[in-house]
């Protein structure tokens, strides 16, 4: 009873804290840098390079947001968090925005008082097997031993999938990706299952990637996207439209290379002009300069460029666009119009 009172008081205090700090944009501008929550290390999504700079898909989106605000993509402080601390770090105000390969779910959105801004990567749980196992479909995995990270949604998805298809499996519980890799290689499990992007990273880290295949079935929806605290709608709008602007830039053919030229003056293409601020005052609507989107694209490029640079087919990970292609290419990336 007492403990409950304390917790309620704590939560109430936290809520007042967020209300008191409702003007996140003003705080960020006063601080001079954006605090962006990322992971402590995930291949292709967030990692440190040899100069101690954060790189990766998620890190680039942090830079895009900072560039939209400050006109300078380097004004980001990266806050590394683990899966267990990411939401508390956001809610406690240690970060202004979270780009941490986080699946949007209803309970996170509603219960944890987060505001998801959209999806920057459509992921889903898949299976990887050794080629010489002769399996070509997940439906043939009856009786297989499966390496699975405990305590994650992947564990539940796996159980659901096997039950729905009336198959049995033998779980080999593991804690980390490194452990899974070692167990999979030593043959303690026939199958390794995790998100498809993680499988691609693990496969790329093997000495003989060609002898391992990722099965075509994707058994869950893992829409990964950024989130902010609930209660500051203006900040949510700003960050949401930065994400959309980067996606829209690909659709309109604005790239890191040609953005300076295109934003120099009206191009006669209304979509491009509105995006780059040579027409209308869309930047002012969200409290920024009208060159907000142009700055973001100058810093990191459009969605396709970010994807290709960090995780695309020409990187070590070699992930195809798939669901993450633009809508006109059969994917799900579809930015609402800026007008």
């Amino acid at each position: 009873m007492k403990l409950k009172t304390i917790l309620v008081a704590g939560a109430a205090l936290a809520a007042t804290a967020t209300v008191a700090h409702a003007d996140t944009l003003a705080d960020v501008k006063a601080r001079g840098e954006l605090n962006c929550i990322v992971t402590t290390g995930l291949v292709g999504f967030a990692y440190t390079d040899e100069n101690g700079q954060w790189r990766g898909f998620d890190a680039d989106f942090c830079r895009a947001t900072a560039a939209a605000i400050f006109g300078d993509g380097s004004k980001v402080k990266f806050v590394p968090t683990t899966g267990k601390t990411r939401f508390t770090a956001l809610n406690a105000g240690e970060g202004d925005i979270l780009y941490r390969n986080t699946t949007e779910t209803m309970s996170r959105d509603v219960d944890l008082k987060l505001s998801f801004l959209g999806i920057n990567y459509y992921d889903g749980q898949g299976f990887m097997v050794k080629k010489d196992l002769g399996v070509t479909s997940a439906k043939e995995l009856n009786g297989a031993s499966v390496c699975i990270q405990t305590g994650t949604t992947t564990e539940l998805n796996l159980a659901d999938y096997f039950r729905a298809n009336d198959m049995s499996y033998e779980p080999v519980p593991i804690e980390t990706n490194d452990e899974a890799r070692a167990n999979y290689l030593s043959g303690r499990c026939d199958v390794y299952t995790t998100d498809a992007s993680g499988l691609a990273a693990t496969r790329a880290s093997l000495d003989d990637p060609k002898n391992h295949i990722v099965l075509p079935e994707i058994i869950s929806k893992e829409p990964l996207g950024p989130a902010v605290r609930q209660g500051d709608e203006a900040w949510g709008d700003l960050t949401r439209w930065v994400l959309r602007a980067v996606i829209a830039a690909e659709e309109y053919g604005v790239t890191q290379e040609n953005v300076a030229e295109l934003s120099a003056g009206p191009t006669g293409k209304p979509d491009v002009d509105r995006l780059l601020g040579t027409e209308g005052n869309f930047g002012e609507m969200i409290g920024l300069g009208n060159d907000w989107a142009a700055n973001a694209i100058k810093a990191v490029g459009n969605y396709g460029e970010i994807f290709d640079r960090n995780i695309g087919p020409n990187t070590e990970l070699g992930i195809e666009r798939g669901l993450n292609a633009q809508w006109y290419d059969g994917g799900l990336m579809y930015a609402a119009p800026i007008r």
């Binding site: 205090l13 700090h21 290390g41 291949v43 990692y47 440190t48 040899e50 683990t82 601390t85 490194d178």
Partner: protein
């Protein structure tokens, strides 16, 4: 017969004769120690078999087939199949300083170098002019803090730039140096005759010992922010340092209490009979004996604390293990966990072994009266 007369020594003066042949020499030593009995013989062959199984492969992997110069894991694999030390070579500086700005790193190095005379003065009583230099030792934490954090003429460096070996050392050294005095006070409080003092100390020790360090770190990283008034930003590293120190102090208190209880009651009574006040009797009679007995336990706690610092990765601080794992997420180096874990293991082994050796030295030096 002439020989015998010439070797006619007075009684008791006969020089020792060499041992009989086949009772001395390296071959006898080997025979005795390795093949002296059936069990020994079996164990010897078993060990030779194991060494033969493990060592060549390990040497191939670690040394002969290893690659030191390469730009990525793929390049390593093209050259040889062994360990890819290139990842350690490339990330060596990062593993020590993490995000600390490059042009300011001399400050960390200076603070680290100054740590040696400080520790030397403190730990070895043969140190020249020790009594005078003690002042420097007392000032060291402030000097080091100023050097590393900055301010007062130095470029300030925010603590979120800390990481790697320097973070491990900062947390470890702070925890170790502060937990000993706090632990002594807690132990004295726990056996104190004042009920209020005793209850507070017992409650503190039992609470902290009853909670895993991870929980305390979580409290430090997340809960404290909720409890503090809005707008109060309390440095994360400072919160962690406080929690680690409190945690180690509680364990230290129990180790020292064990030492205090081993002191016979007569010692306390004798100190009282001499007319010594409480602190005098503790300082001059009880604690020197109690701490001496507790040395193995104290060093044990130190080493445990030092290794526990790797847990800070859970709350997003990148210690030496954490920063190297982040490096592994670089697609260039993805898939080299063995190299990174071996590197980290060597680092921790060297530090912990040094602590353990010092404890042995101290025990030998102080072995008056209790040596078994």
């Amino acid at each position: 017969m002439t020989d015998v007369t010439e070797q006619n020594y007075p009684p008791g003066k006969h020089p020792s004769l060499p041992p009989p042949r086949n009772m001395t020499g390296w071959h006898v030593w080997i025979w005795k120690n390795f093949f002296g009995s059936i069990t020994n013989t079996v164990l010897t062959f078993l060990s030779i078999f194991l060494i033969w199984q493990i060592v060549p492969g390990a040497l191939d992997f670690l040394v002969f087939d290893s690659v030191v110069n390469a730009g990525s894991r793929a390049e390593c694999r093209e050259i040889a199949d062994g360990a890819c030390w290139a990842v350690i070579v490339e990330r060596f500086e990062q593993s020590i300083f993490a995000f600390y700005p490059e042009e300011e790193r001399w400050r960390v190095i200076l603070a680290f170098i100054l740590l040696f005379p400080t520790v030397g003065i403190l730990l070895f009583d043969g140190f020249p002019a020790r009594a005078k230099l003690m002042k420097f030792t007392i000032a060291y934490p402030f000097i080091a803090g100023w050097l590393i954090v900055g301010g007062w003429g130095l470029e300030p460096v925010s603590t979120d730039k800390f990481g790697g070996v320097m973070l491990t050392l900062i947390i470890g050294v702070t925890g170790i140096t502060l937990s000993l005095p706090i632990g002594i006070l807690l132990a004295l409080g726990r056996i104190s005759k004042l009920p209020a003092m005793r209850i507070v100390c017992v409650a503190f020790i039992e609470f902290i010992r009853g909670v895993p360090l991870i929980t305390l770190l979580f409290v430090a990283s997340t809960m404290l922010n909720y409890f503090l008034p809005p707008g109060v930003q309390f440095d994360l590293l400072l919160r962690v340092l406080i929690m680690v120190t409190l945690f180690a102090s509680a364990y230290m208190a129990e180790v020292i209490r064990g030492g205090l209880q081993a002191i016979p009651k007569g010692q306390y009574e004798a100190a009282d009979a001499m007319g010594l006040k409480y602190w005098q009797s503790m300082r001059l009679i009880i604690l020197p004996q109690a701490l001496k007995i507790s040395i193995p336990g104290i060093v044990n706690t130190f080493i445990g604390l030092y290794k526990d610092t790797t847990l800070v990765i859970i709350i997003g601080l990148l210690d030496v293990l954490g920063i190297m794992k982040t490096a592994l997420a670089d697609p260039k180096w993805n898939g080299l966990p063995e190299e990174v874990y071996i590197y980290t293991a060597i680092f921790f082994f060297v530090s912990c072994f040094a602590m353990s050796r010092y404890s042995l030295y101290l025990e030998k030096k102080l072995h008056t009266g209790h040596k078994r």
